[in-house]
Symmetry: C2
Subunit: 666 residues, 2 copies
């Protein structure tokens, strides 16, 4: 289809395509197929979106997520052409290079204008559900009949891969249930995945499935040419306010490439010089690589309209603050990311005389102490509300028609739950999402937890039933390796509190870390309150929970439910004249970050006889106990029996700790 005189629309769409083609060619790496096919729908979407390129974090912007993150050159091209300073033409030339602003998949922490980090398929659409939840919540909370303070759409571009991933089904089912009318998903229906035609593995009726979820579903049969059809579908989507909309846009992957379009070959590889030449001819694109006609820039620039949009909204906000000063102030506080003064004082404190509770119960108290003080706290459980104990009693359920409430029922959808919370947090409106399930099912949501950590989303993961101590449910439900497996994730704080104060301390840390997720490993069974624990000490990662006079001969290091066992063993050993210290180490990561002096004060180098006690994998403990130390842990799966029996059979007894300790003492 050689073109001689092109409309500025067509030129703009081709500009997107060739920025992608040429950047991938220069890098000899990347995914040109999606940008080439999805450029028309992306162009139409962005032309009507509200955002301000000069203030990418303007609150009331429409959000755009490229769930098919491999097609990131599409996003970079859009950012560049609409006027974001974050992606210059040099950045595009630097695609996929060390420290570039244009990494191989979209990263929110690198490129302003990218809302979330995508690439692992299916995550982006779930993040989108999270953004839409955040919008719905804030709109319900702050909007007034005369003041639409919160009012934006969330657009998600997803591909066949996103639709095959189970996580997307989980989130879309929930989005349909919740009736999130301002969520609009564009499904790039190009019939090609990496293995070739989707006919080899994916022949379901996607539209019907979304209808089954309760979505409003539309179809644009010619997504390559029918710009008006795409625009109309977006309008229709906006007109339906009580359901999310999925617009299936049928396209040709790699549109414009005479020999490679509609094939898997163009999905994830550079076109090559010869094919690029043919594609230029075919699409009538006369410009050299990285040259964009001025007409395209002026057509696509959102700088002026974005500034106007933001100015108009700033007026709405100013009026709002004047008219509703209390809410206005609170809303501004949300946006600033600041927590209400004195929030941490609400966390409960305990003495050793206080009745011992399970740390999941302490967690419930923390959540409910924080909830009235910190209205930003929002979250829930994957259908284990009354096992995880995560209900905020001061609020109702977040449901269609009740979006101002803060208890979200995620359903049995752990993976989507994590990704939705990433979206809620990365709405960047001050909301603090938490989510909950049994610790062992962290495995189901690990893909999302990793992305919390990578994308600097300080989600709070409330994971209960943290060891074989949970008992009868047996090895499928007993985390053994889970805490260790979580500790290896960079930028994730894993905290396993030993009592009430440590649980409060864990929340204090978690709430204060908005760029770093925290995973709390909480017991099902009751724990004794320790003599020397405190709320503030948790921030140090480890402390001396019980000590002898002078230099200890032996250090017992425990976490969570095992600290008390260590203390009891130490007491017995002391009666036998031994000098024993007990270190409670709720968080490895925080302890590692302390200065050398503090570390030495807790674990003196000279004391080489050390024993770790944790009802879980021993992996990693040798770093703390050293070559001369020993470990008590579990490196096999658990078993079904009452929790106390399990703990006993697996060696978490005073006898066993004493015996290992004595062996070390010689």
């Amino acid at each position: 289809m050689p073109v001689t005189a092109q409309s500025v629309e067509q030129l703009s769409i081709n500009a997107i395509r060739f920025l992608a083609i040429d950047a991938v060619e220069k890098a000899k790496s990347g995914h040109p197929g999606l940008p080439m096919g999805a450029a028309p729908m992306a162009y139409v979407t962005w032309q009507q979106m509200h955002f301000n390129p000069k203030n990418p974090q303007w609150f009331n912007r429409d959000r755009f997520i490229l769930s098919a993150g491999h097609g990131c050159m599409l996003h970079y091209a859009l950012l560049h052409l609409t006027g974001f300073d974050s992606v210059t033409i040099d950045d595009i030339k630097n695609f996929r290079q060390w420290e570039s602003k244009t990494p191989g998949h979209p990263e929110n922490f690198v490129t302003a204008g990218v809302e979330v980090t995508t690439g692992p398929l299916g995550q982006g659409i779930c993040n989108g559900v999270g953004l839409a939840i955040a919008e719905a919540h804030l709109a319900a909370k702050y909007n007034k009949p005369d003041a639409k303070l919160v009012d934006h759409y969330t657009y998600v571009l997803m591909g066949d891969g996103c639709n095959m991933e189970g996580i997307s089904g989980e989130a879309c089912s929930l989005a349909g249930h919740l009736g999130l009318g301002k969520l609009i998903a564009l499904y790039d229906d190009n019939h090609i995945s990496i293995d070739g035609s989707t006919d080899v593995a994916f022949t379901e009726d996607v539209s019907k499935r979304f209808e089954a979820y309760g979505w409003h579903v539309l179809h644009v049969p010619d997504g390559n040419q029918d710009l008006a059809g795409i625009a109309k579908a977006i309008e229709q989507a906006k007109a339906v306010t009580d359901k999310p909309t999925m617009i299936k846009v049928t396209t040709i992957i790699g549109y414009g490439s005479p020999n490679k379009s509609n094939s898997a070959g163009i999905h994830g590889a550079a076109l090559g010089e010869a094919e690029i030449k043919l594609t230029r001819e075919n699409l009538g694109w006369t410009h050299p690589p990285f040259e964009v006609p001025a007409d395209v820039y002026s057509n696509m620039s959102a700088v002026d309209r974005g500034a106007a949009d933001e100015a108009a909204w700033n007026k709405i906000l100013a009026d709002y603050v004047a008219k509703y000063p209390a809410e206005g102030q609170e809303f501004n506080a949300y946006l600033s990311g600041e927590l209400p003064a004195g929030w941490a004082d609400s966390l409960p404190k305990y003495t050793a005389a206080d009745k011992g509770l399970a740390s999941r119960q302490h967690s419930e108290k923390c959540l409910n102490a924080l909830a009235p003080v910190v209205p930003q706290l929002i979250g829930g459980s994957a259908d284990l509300t009354h096992s995880n104990l995560t209900e905020l009693k001061c609020s109702g359920d977040f449901q269609k028609g009740a979006y101002s409430n803060r208890n979200i029922h995620f359903g049995v959808r752990e993976h989507a739950m994590g990704a939705i919370c990433n979206g809620i947090l990365l709405h960047n409106s001050g909301l603090i999402p938490y989510c909950a399930t049994f610790l062992v099912f962290a495995d189901y949501m690990r893909g999302a937890i990793r992305l919390s950590a990578l994308s600097e989303a300080g989600v709070i993961y409330v994971m209960t039933h943290d060891s074989i101590g949970l008992g009868e449910d047996g090895p499928t439900h007993q985390p053994v390796e889970t805490v260790a497996a979580m500790r290896v994730i960079p930028n994730l704080l894993v905290i396993r509190p030993a009592d009430g104060n440590e649980t409060s301390g864990a929340y204090k840390v978690a709430m204060a870390n908005r760029k770093r997720p925290t995973l709390l490993a909480l017991s099902r069974q009751a724990l004794v309150n320790l003599e020397k624990s405190s709320v503030d000490i948790v921030a140090k990662g480890a402390y001396v929970a019980s000590d002898s006079e002078g230099t200890p001969e032996l250090i017992l290091i425990g976490t969570g439910s095992e600290v008390d066992l260590c203390i009891k063993a130490a007491e017995q050993l002391r009666t036998a004249g031994k000098k024993v210290r007990v270190v409670s180490m709720p968080c490895w990561e925080l302890f590692d970050e302390q200065d050398a002096a503090y570390k030495e004060s807790i674990l003196p180098k000279a004391v080489t006889k050390r024993l770790s006690v944790e009802a879980g994998s021993t992996m990693g403990w040798h770093r703390f106990v050293g070559t001369e130390g020993d470990v008590i842990g579990i490196d096999t799966f658990g078993a079904s029996a009452p929790g106390g029996v399990c703990l006993e059979k697996f060696g978490f007894t005073l006898d066993n700790v004493m015996s290992k300790a004595k062996a070390l003492l010689g």
Copy 2:
């Protein structure tokens, strides 16, 4: 509904209910609600199923999976009442106790008659898809017009929880695509999940969703009473041979309990004495706990019909072997679990002179060397066939109408892929399933990998792109912590081969371990073939890959792509007069299992200066390098840049290894 004279059907169904009620009550732990509501559908299903209680592993049995594994007392009751020796009445009295045959969730490795391990929701239905794939494959391969050697159904009972989990959507979409006509899923539609009514989170149209997947969908509106309706639906399901069938059976959870039925309260807690009394009255059940009327035993016993079924099939098999001796022999070999003689000899061997390839390429050679020799090998990739290099070139694609082929296109459905492979393996017909994706996406399938390990399913996980060395795709695609996170899973072999021989050795180990899954971490980039590697040495877990004369002063320990770097560093250090050993350690788990003498021969205790080099998390390495050693690894996320640049920037350079080594040598 007090009943005076009950039919034996009704008595049998109530017997199931009260075994569940009374076992949970005695244990004060468990889930009575599902067994009480699903007893009718389970009863009807089992009355027409073909199996032999006295030979639970009889090949041609119909398979039954309780995907809603928490309702395991349903399964135990069925096993007991139909005549399995594995579950006696004493075993039922011992429900959820230490070393009982009746653990808190169904465990195939504990209880004969349980096909797979369920409990983590959604896994069972995926396992069922795997069983159905195995059946379809073997039927296509061995059945003759005059001999239906392979001919059984796979029944799965799933609940709302299973249907909310994304993994079930993945597998059911694939099952619909593949048209697995002998898969019959019974959906216990009881409208209750742990958080209460499913109205709080799950209001989608499940039937419509399954229709969208291409399933045959039926509905039994009164699953509590309409036994004929359930039976008819199963017949209709069997009549449709080119689609899997989902039968939605609407029930009342905890049916029969006057005050607790139809509530979340009966899902996962004992009814309590008073309510049990009322339930007995209500259902007209006059028998004390654990007493089953003889009528019920004789009505439900499958001992005679099972023996007859097996005898009839044994005759079919004998005739088959007589008529088709080659296929018959092969089929029997499959069932015996034995691999063809000399299979391991097919694995390629290399010398240092051979051109270096990526270990994913070596893996491709292994798979294609094994495939013609080991027809049991079947598997594929989650839409990364030509990146993972997992195609068996001697076979076509496993598709509807071509079930005898062995290349399965799983689609972008990692989690279901793992669970489906667990099902294929636990079909226990000798098939050896493998599956593949990028290593980082092991996170997406961790729930299934854990169950491979727990349920003793020796699936082979072919995970490529195993480090930051993959380059441009960036941190979302770069495993950093993944190998470490896999090493903590009990009973999983994690092998990261350094060259061609080690890759062959990894396959040799993996193929021989049918009760232990193996995860292969394979490079995207080319690796040098080592001087001292061999196929057989991999079974030892670690070996000396390069050495100096006499006792070394320093030991460098590497895995995978970093071993060659260690060797080069050692060579340079030796020119400076240092005695340096290099240990290649492809598999921690196997090395840990060697005797003390072997371990000492590789890592002599006296040599305390040790340096590990692995392009991944350092967690766990301190156990090998000790207090005086050091580690080179990556404890942050990676970055998007060409692979060589990433490796260099993160310190995987000769300079850095030399510098750390020199620091240790002092």
